[in-house]
Symmetry: C2
Subunit: 163 residues, 2 copies
DNA sequence: GCAAGAATGTTATCTTATATCAAACTATAC
DNA sequence: GTATAGTTTGATATAAGATAACATTCTTGC
């Protein structure tokens, strides 16, 4: 595997999103089983809603979606599912947007780097080892012990730069 | 200048914070003059409050501080000052904390990279050109045009790792 | 001084997230 | 199979973060 690859996003025209979601679901089940955690119907629903596109989704939008199939869900319902999914590495929170998105490669421990299109909202998740190790190097220089990385780049995707 | 330097933070024991703030204020005045903007008393006060430490400050904490010297300030008072200061490049918002911090090098256009100590709350601002250009390289590969970077690393500073 | 624009004040409201306690469900031990 | 401990979800309330909209005051250039 190359040290830098686009794991997800910016390919909406080409890929079969049904397969994409099905894969994500299978992978999520596997991860939960491995961790001895339960992928309950509620968690599954929230996960599916997040994967309905490669765009980040806001918690209260999830809540509104949930309301279509559940009886008057309350915020904690969504936040608890999101917390669980984040804990399991199945979902990322985009801090710069206060929004959530399905993780493109949940199997491996990582935090990911995100390129967020300001125009169409689509997000690509990258995982560049070189970038991570450069950060580790910087941290080491000042004696800092890294626990968590938030790397979110916003701008315009290729499509949205067309005139 | 090295391609990677700590601009601010994690040096609390050694530096004269009075000088530090005085420098920041002078620099802020210069930047505003250069931009033809007004560094009003309110903006100055908010700026000073932000520079009272190298820790990020929350908007509502600023508001509470302001309330000590101003008559019942409301949220927009603080948010407007923060918006202005961010616009001028004098202040950064830390998205992962919903908090704000004075910029260590306001003269130059940059977005900065932050190392945030989870224990003591102190933040170091770095500016690593290599890191930035690595991100640009990644972006170019997928045809992405970068507008803005959010890079926030949390963990433990050297001090807080001591047993 | 006066008009135009900038900055601040004021009130209300919106968005995002969590605390707390109760009820329902699940798995295991007996 | 049922008691029980632990986990998950339901429900209510509220905390925390941010902005909209309009009024007033302050600055600046004429």
């Amino acid at each position: 595997m190359p040290d830098n690859m686009v794991i997800q996003g910016f390919e909406s025209a080409e890929h079969d999103h049904g397969d994409c979601v099905a894969d994500a679901l299978r992978e999520a089940e596997r991860v939960c089983t491995e961790r001895g955690e339960r992928f309950t119907p509620l968690r599954r629903t929230v996960f599916e809603l997040l994967w309905s596109s490669h765009k980040p989704v806001k918690a209260y939008d999830l809540l509104a979606q949930l309301a279509l199939t559940h009886d008057r869900p309350a915020p904690p319902t969504v936040y608890r599912a999101l917390d669980f999914l984040q804990e399991a590495g199945l979902v990322h929170k985009l801090e710069s947007l206060n929004a959530y998105i399905g993780c493109g490669e949940p199997g491996r421990r990582h935090q990911g780097q995100f390129m967020i299109c300001e125009e169409c909202g689509v997000v690509a998740e990258l995982d560049d080892e070189t970038l991570t190790s450069r950060i580790d190097t910087n941290a080491r220089k000042i004696g800092f012990k890294v626990n968590d990385e938030t790397i979110e780049i916003s701008g315009l995707c290729r499509q949205c730069q067309q005139p």
